[in-house]
């Protein structure tokens, strides 16, 4: 139970001072002695065979210290899963998207490196390319990978129950198609990497990342180096949102260059490169068929999604599965058929994103409202009827140990004035809602857990060593807050060492919403362990049983006689003399079914616990221009327990921006073939301060039995809810459904014109 004095407080984050003063270091800020600057030559073609690369002129340019091409990469391929190893991070034979890495130069300065790039001659044999996933699946479409027929990268089929019969029995069946275009992370920090390779064969890497261990493992495989020699160092990271977990060509290429030149190499991408040559979010086409009973309960559900995966697999199997997962994590499904396809196209590689799948999630939420309307049920009510509750088991077998979905829906409707507003606002103003459940952590095998160590110093202070990663979420602060609470210490008396693949234990990373639940649990375990050790040692000193003792503000004392006490530093010294130094140890592995596999076996417990949320959004539409303004958002989130409510609110507010305004209304990439037309911060429309609504965050606490102090996560459900809420609010305002995201003004206007051709 959450009894601590510190957890639950709005504490100032431990990382914020350095960030407020400009002292925090990000990758591009670093310099090392003898450091070189690298640049990458990229493919101007969407699909081409590389016939020849002549780097001789570049090599001769004064100041150039190393040049690498696919030949230096030895043809090794990478993929997150054993069965998705399809990406040569520096391809030797074929390029598959505009912006793909072809060669790289390290030189004394960036200008020289750029000049050298212009001296590299590449001969290409341009091949036909395909850019649309539905076309790519057709017979006769250009084949992007030799071993992949019809360009179907991953197919996840899931079927439970008797779907066809259930559809026949349904009172109402609806079929709709929802879709969206590509969009992207657009973290404010562009991609950068610094690699240092020393004569003892140690490889050090700094790069904005959500998981140093994942990057280290990939590099160790690719470079055939022992894991202990590959050291991904801690560095401040300017946002990740799912887009900094996988290994990228940049790290690999910088490593090749550093090894070849025998000098440190730094490579900083332009914004354009960050857009085209790291990761983007998937676009999807979603066919949704839903059968319900007369009172609006789900009877039969069918979904087919086609994801445009771009040129390589990346986290493909996860990406295809998420639409299904979020669905089953939110609602009580009985008979369900899912077919998820991730298809290769000649476009940049797509990965997992905080706002993954606006079309499926928005689609689910909008179709539910359509059904509710046909059955004359209030949208909040139909959600409540289908919402999962604590103790229930999802359709593929995950048990829910805590669930605040009902409470979140109720609180969001109550606070937002839903009853007074829904269907009652004047034309052009509307209100809508969205709800979702979210896995707290993916099954990631050995990489799914976290461990922490807590080492006490003779002055009574301590160092917490945790794998936890922070890309802005507040995770570092969270583990310290937890440990400090357990140990009765001030946060500033605990020093944190984190996210360094050499020093800190394995951790899943700031990925899949697992940090609080998994890393937080491990940190808590370490603190509890250290506390026990301390109390044990002190019990001799105070002549009391450990159970009679407490630890607070650097004193161990007898609970009923606080004047009987001993300074913590003394206890630590005694421990050292007794040869029992205080080192706390904690670890946590979420209780998932390790046999569950994304494609081959999608059943069994897939996350330790689930978080839930509901959002109500109000919009105002300019019916002449079609411009939609989100004016108010009430977001209720079951985060289990809010360790730092300020951080939870911050996550929700951030989700409203990226999910509710950005992904719902503004953000998309436009293309001409495989070429991205808007790879700039000016033309890729990230919401600005003036575009944001008033936000009322509501924290719902269910106190999860597994989570540290009952905490779960707070990062994702917000955006998932916003797509639905905005789509539904627009319907409430105008009476039109817009089924393609983002809902840009031209689409709104077109929908209005179709509804009323006279207008």
């Amino acid at each position: 139970m959450a009894e601590g004095e510190l957890v639950g407080q709005r504490v100032v984050r431990i990382d914020s001072r350095a960030k407020a003063t400009g002292e925090a270091r990000y990758t591009a800020d670093l310099t090392l002695p003898r450091m070189l600057h690298a640049k990458v030559l990229r493919s101007p073609h969407a699909h081409a065979r590389i016939l020849n690369i002549d780097t001789s002129k570049a090599e001769r340019l004064p100041g150039v210290k190393a040049v690498v091409t696919g030949k230096d990469a030895a043809g090794v391929k990478w993929g997150v899963f054993r069965y998705t190893r399809d990406q040569e991070l520096l391809p030797a034979e074929k390029v598959r998207y505009v912006g793909e890495d072809v060669a790289a130069v390290a030189a004394l300065d960036e200008e020289t490196a750029l000049e050298a790039l212009s001296l590299i001659d590449v001969e290409y044999d341009v091949l036909p390319a395909v850019f649309d996933p539905l076309e790519a699946m057709q017979e006769g479409a250009p084949q992007i990978h030799d071993h992949v027929e019809n360009n179907v990268n991953i197919h996840v089929p899931i079927e439970v129950g008797d779907v066809d019969r259930a559809f026949q029995e349904a009172y109402l069946v609806r079929e709709d198609r929802f879709s969206d275009t590509e969009y992207t992370y657009c973290q404010t920090e562009p991609y950068a990497v610094l690699v240092n390779y020393d004569s003892n064969g140690n490889l050090e890497i700094w790069t904005p990342n959500a998981s140093p261990h994942t990057k280290a493992k990939a590099l160790s495989n690719l470079l055939k180096m022992p894991l202990a020699k590959v050291k991904v160092r801690k560095i401040s990271t300017g946002g990740a949102f799912g887009g900094r977990s996988d290994i990228f060509p940049g790290e690999f290429i910088a490593a090749l260059l550093a090894i070849k030149a025998g000098r440190p190499v730094k490579m900083v991408y332009t914004r354009e490169e960050s857009f085209t040559s790291v990761r983007q979010a998937h676009s999807m086409v979603v066919d949704l068929k839903t059968g319900v009973t007369e009172d609006g309960r789900f009877l039969a559900n069918e979904m087919k999604v086609v994801l445009d995966g771009g040129a390589y697999s990346s986290t493909g199997p996860i990406a295809v599965s998420v639409p299904f997962l979020v669905w089953e994590e939110t609602y009580r499904l009985h008979n369900v058929r899912f077919n998820g396809y991730r298809v290769f196209t000649n476009k940049p590689v797509r990965g997992m994103y905080r706002c993954h799948g606006r079309s499926f999630m928005g689609g689910l939420g909008m179709q539910l409202d359509m059904i509710a309307e046909e059955l004359s049920i209030d949208p909040a009510e139909i959600r409540l009827r289908n919402a999962l509750r604590t103790g229930e088991t999802q359709v593929t077998g995950s048990r829910i140990i805590s669930c605040g979905l009902t409470e979140a829906i109720e609180k969001a409707t109550e606070t937002s004035g839903w009853k007074e507003k829904r269907g009652k606002l004047p034309y052009s103003r509307g209100i809508g809602m969205g709800a979702s459940g979210m896995m707290v952590g993916f099954p990631m095998g050995i990489r799914g857990g976290s461990a922490a160590l807590l080492k006490f110093n003779e002055d009574g202070g301590c160092t917490l060593i945790s794998g936890v990663v922070d890309n802005g979420q507040g995770n570092e602060s969270m583990v310290v807050q937890i440990a400090a609470d357990v140990l009765g210490m001030k946060m500033e008396d605990i020093n944190l060492v984190s996210s360094d693949s050499e020093i800190t234990p394995l951790d899943q990373g700031a990925y899949s919403q697992a940090s609080t639940f998994v890393s937080g649990n491990a940190a808590r375990g370490a603190a509890v362990d250290a506390r026990e050790q301390i109390l044990n040692i002190a019990s001799d000193m105070l002549d009391a049983t450990p159970g009679e003792l407490d630890l607070k503000d650097g004193q161990v004392f007898v609970k009923h006689r606080p004047e009987w006490n001993v300074w913590l530093g003394k206890v630590i010294r005694k421990a050292l003399l007794d040869n029992t130094p205080v080192v706390g140890r904690g670890s946590y592995m979420p209780k998932v079914d390790l046999r569950r596999e994304w494609v081959s076996n999608p059943k069994g417990q897939h996350a330790g616990t689930f978080s839930f949320g509901a959002v109500v959004a109000e919009v105002e539409v300019d019916t002449e221009t079609g411009q939609v303004r989100v004016t108010n958002v009430t977001g209720a989130h079951d985060c289990g327990f809010a360790i730092n409510p300020m951080a939870v609110e911050g996550q929700l507010e951030g989700s409203v921006a990226s999910g509710g305004v950005g992904a719902s209304l503004l953000e998309e990439h436009s293309w001409d073939g495989g070429q991205m037309l808007n790879a700039t911060m000016l033309e890729y429309k990230v919401p600005l301060s003036v575009d944001m609504p008033q936000i009322t965050p509501i924290i719902v606490e269910t106190v999860d039995p597994e989570g540290p102090f009952g905490a779960k996560e707070a990062g994702l459900a917000g955006s998932m809810n916003m797509f639905q809420a905005v789509g539904n609010a627009i319907y409430d305002a105008l009476g039109v459904w817009i089924k393609e995201f983002p809902i840009t003004p031209d689409k709104v206007l077109q929908a209005l014109e179709e509804k009323d051709p006279e207008s």
Binding site: R42, P44, L114, T270, D672, E683, K685, L688
Partner: protein
């Protein structure tokens, strides 16, 4: 992204600046706020050997009242322009437009002449050298084709400046000077509509000031801008209207100008004909807006859908006219 190399010239007077331009001609480029020019240079669209920096040419940095009209020095920052009482009070439409340019910090950097002299823009042009090299030169970069409209016969790059329409509607003129000569042209004549050379500005010429004639009796104006975000974005379409109402409630003068829907700012002559000498009614305004719609020729090269942007011209124009009319 790095800037290509150049020599930086820092004249202290207009005369000195003109001297530099006369000497280096095409090899030189004027830089004022630099907010547009430097981005183009980073993209490798321009690589002038000399940059003639006007920042220290103080004589170009002024706003003064003159015979009831306004003289705006070329170097006036957009933020200064919108904060100047004479502008705010007597020509509020100019302040209104300046406040909609980009975002506040860019208004504090960007100058009036820089804004008026914006290059035309296009998704196939405002890109890095790497990006453009993937598809070969277009009309605007000296090639023989248009990437926007395949088979197109001319460059469709869009003029997206925000303050030109308001100033054109006010009847502003430009004082342009070069070594030894000087001319004054109506602002609208600055724009050629040509891709390679969108401005009728000689290489050795400087826009020294903008002159706005005294307001007509009962004059008011309004500027409407379409953009996806509430800040930072260039207009996807923009309409300025300046109307005067005489004592008997009749519109005595009307000017409507558009931006971002063609290769230069467009003056909607027909709106003038429709409105002048008339009682302004909703119906008449709708006709004028229709005329603006007819005149607009947006291309699909600056974001959003071209046909949508064209429709918006109707809406923006109607709103601008009605607002201007109601303000008086």
């Amino acid at each position: 992204m790095r800037l290509p190399s150049f020599e930086h010239l820092e004249p202290r007077s207009l005369e000195e600046a003109l001297g530099f331009l006369a000497k280096h001609k095409e090899q030189a480029k004027i830089i004022a706020g630099g907010t547009e020019l430097l981005v183009c240079m980073k993209h490798g669209l321009l690589a002038p050997a000399y940059l003639v920096n006007l920042k220290a040419v103080r004589e170009l940095d002024f706003v003064s009242e003159d015979d009831g009209g306004l003289r705006i020095g070329a170097l006036t920052r957009l933020s200064t322009l919108s904060e100047t009482p004479a502008v705010r009070e007597r020509f509020p439409v100019v302040a209104q437009a300046a406040e909609m340019v980009a975002a506040p910090p860019l208004q504090a950097m960007g100058t009036v002449a820089g804004n008026l002299c914006l290059n035309t823009r296009c998704f196939y042009y405002n890109q890095s050298s790497f990006w453009r090299q993937a598809r070969g030169a277009c009309y605007k970069t000296g090639g023989d084709r248009c990437h926007v409209v395949k088979g197109g016969k001319r460059c469709l790059a869009t003029y997206q400046g925000d303050i030109a329409p308001a100033l054109i509607a006010l009847g502003a003129t430009l004082r342009m000077v070069s070594n030894g000569s000087e001319r004054e042209i109506p602002l609208a004549e600055l724009y050629t509509g040509k891709g390679r050379r969108p401005l009728a500005l000689e290489p050795d010429e400087i826009v020294a000031e903008v002159r706005v004639p005294a307001p007509f009796d009962g004059m008011a104006g309004d500027y409407q801008k379409l953009r996806l975000r509430g800040s930072m974005d260039f207009p996807l379409a923009g309409a300025a209207a300046v109307l005067s109402r005489n004592g008997s409630g009749v519109c005595s003068r009307a000017r409507v100008a558009l931006t971002a829907v063609g290769t230069g700012p467009l003056v909607v002559e027909e709106a003038t004909q429709l409105l002048e000498g008339q009682q302004v009614t909703e119906d008449l305004v709708a006709q004028a807006a229709e005329a603006a719609y007819e005149a607009a020729r947006p291309a699909s090269n600056v974001g959003s859908d071209a046909s949508y942007r064209r429709k918006m011209v109707r809406v923006l124009t109607r709103r601008a006219i009605l607002n201007a009319w109601r303000k008086e």
